[in-house]
């Protein structure tokens, strides 16, 4: 049984070439779902990529559950990340795509494949193992990605607009699934979204990014209900 880990970015700074400089100093609480919002270019994806290890911070430390992961390879971090698209290898069937989470060389024993099928059942895809990704809907593909997250058994889940290409109905069911898995596994979830509805559905706390910085962080959906900053109000389209 994994338990939630908290994530801290201590004075983390990142700049690509001569682009804008990002500076993050923030803690995301353990075992909770934090929703990140903010305008395009504000640094949401950069923040997640730093946590996932896909970008290397120029300065500062990234600490997950007390462990300094700043210099760890993405595969060594206690983190699974789900992207908006291309989470599955198009040339591998569903079971193999999930199986990669068990062993990157795909050398699974019978117990391993059972584990894969169990994960598929947990995300509502019983018997989908032999299907190819091209035959799945967008929602089903994200479910497969979640199944792989399950077999990887990492305590932190990062979602980079993972539902951006899904319709409202599908978003609801995927969000419900994420919420359920989060409760069962005590996951720490950090999710980027542009949809206030997503946040209302799932957020334990929220953070708002602007110009490469955390502008505000507040429990629950306070940022939505009573935006403390005119930038947030403007982003949400609330006069005021």
């Amino acid at each position: 049984m994994i338990t939630g880990l908290d994530l801290s970015m201590c004075d983390v700074s990142y700049q690509h070439n001569n682009g804008p400089r990002f500076a993050f100093d923030v803690t995301f609480p353990a075992g909770q779902t934090s929703v990140i919002m903010g305008p395009s270019g504000s640094g949401k994806s950069t923040l997640l990529n730093l946590l996932g290890g896909f970008l290397k911070a120029d300065r500062g430390d990234i600490v997950i559950g007390g462990q300094n992961v700043t210099h760890l390879h993405p595969s060594e971090r206690p983190v699974s990340m789900i992207f908006q698209d291309h989470n599955l290898f198009a040339h591998l069937d569903v079971a193999r795509n999930v199986g990669l989470g068990v062993d990157p060389h795909l050398k699974l024993d019978e117990a391993g494949w059972h584990h894969v099928e169990d994960a598929l059942i947990s995300v509502g895809l019983r018997g989908y193992g032999q299907r190819m990704p091209s035959t799945l809907s967008g929602g089903e593909r994200q479910r497969v990605a979640l199944a792989r997250m399950l077999v990887r058994d990492r305590p932190v889940l990062l979602m980079d607009e993972a539902m951006a290409s899904l319709g409202p109905g599908l978003r609801q069911t995927i969000l419900a699934l994420v919420k359920q898995l989060q409760c069962e596994k005590r996951l720490t979830v950090i999710m980027i979204t542009h949809e206030p509805g997503d946040a209302r559905h799932i957020a334990d706390s929220m953070a708002f990014l602007a110009d490469g910085r955390i502008l505000a962080q507040a429990p629950g959906t306070n940022l939505l209900d009573s935006p403390s900053d005119p930038q947030i109000a403007a982003y949400l389209g609330i006069a005021g």
Binding site: S75, F83, L92, L106, P133
Partner: protein
Amino acid sequence: MGPSVAGRHEPLSVHPFTPDMPARLVLVALAVLCLTPLIALGVMGGEALRIGSLSALLGDPFIQRALRFTLVQAALSTLISVALAVPVVLALRHIQQPWLLRHVWTLFALPLVLPQIVAALAIAAVFGHNGWIADLVAIAGINWPSIYGLAGILLAHVFFNLPLAARVFDLALQSQPVEYEKNAAQLGLTGWRRFILIEGAVIRDAAMGVSILIFLLCSTSFTIVLMLGGGPRSTTLEVAIYQALAFDFDLGRAVMLVALQVLVTGGIVLALMGRRDADVGTTGFSLTGAMHMRAVMAGERSGAAIAMLLVLVAVLFVALPFIFIVFDGFAANPFAVWQRQAVVAALLTSIIIGLFSSILAVFGAVLLTHRRAGGRFLAAMPVLALVFPPIVLSAGWFLTLRQFTDPFEYAAILVVVINAAMALPFVLRIVGQALQTHAARYGQLEDQLALTGWARWRISVLPALRAPLLVGFAFAFALSLGDFGVIALFGSERLQTLPYMIYASFGSYRTNDAAALALLLAVLVFIAIGFAEWLGQRQTRSGAP
């Protein structure tokens, strides 16, 4: 709700932890290959290039004429190819039948992989003094002139480059948003005004890039000029280098000519690199690419008849040399020729050299794409390669090795390596782009899942990229099979390839042998390319989206 832009423009495709040592090694090897002969020539040439002899060489009317002819024929070739490509591509847009269009574009892609030596032979036979066209007009009592010299060179260059320019224009036109056409229709734009607004603007933008590319290709053209030039009046720098080394053995002149050649092409490339759209290598060298054509335009009936006529002429012009290769090849009793021991040996030599150099080229391209930075350099590489055409590299290494040993001892290795280097930019385009797209899509996923090293290749890369890898391999193989620029200097009784043998037969007026050998070479090249295309398409059909 668009995806957030932040963090996407970074080179996430290659992870910051990935070592890029192998890529650097490839770059160093390329630099050594290209620069060693230049440095050695500079040292050796010190003697020959004393101020006095330098001015004497520069004042040498032969060198002056070679330089002038190089530039004039390249400019004319470019002008004619590009100017003719515009009406051809516009006419092609009138074609309503997708199957016809598909076949025309397939035909237009063929010259891109046809060995130059075979093309030169075919063009001489079709358009030459004793060729098919001459026979045809003789019925009407017209005396067809000889094409050896500028005319033949231009014909061959247009044969290679008109389809290339047309293809580039077509790709540019296709990349226009469909909304343009819709807007034009909505606004009631027709005829000339519509052309100016829609096709004209796009073609003008694309014309600059493709013109520079064609000019570079033609100014470094060797085989065509050697075969069809027909005398000292029409000699380019490249051919002059070859003649200085192969016949006159005038080292000073060879050094001077190599320096001039690199200055000319290097100057053009430098001027080109300053432009923002330096990526003129986007020329669609794949047959598969040509298959993606679609009929876009709703026809304007008025121009349809003229368009069909234009297309017919263009198609005949491109197709006739191919028809010759098959027709004359089979008329030359080819099976008897192919069974000769020397031919079998040359065939095997060609295949072995081709295999080694294409493996080397694919390997180098794969390693190069693992380079973290330098996307700009990789994009410019096809153009940079034109600064060091095969004859310059082989002449340079020939002269360098001569200082220490018998260069023919190392002929086979040098032919393999130089051919690999020549193919590398093209392979890099085919394989590199696919690898980079794949890495951009799956790189993060691979990193997260600890898919590294061989596991990454076995599970992620090879199954997904079998098609581009095979096409790249086949293209390198075809290029190497058809090479004459390198083997021209290094070939000997001991090391003969098919193109070398074709040139020898052609030079000693054994036209039957030449035709039979040309057929063999063309068949080999098209089998290689066709096989890769077929495998690639089979995978695309059975594979995922």
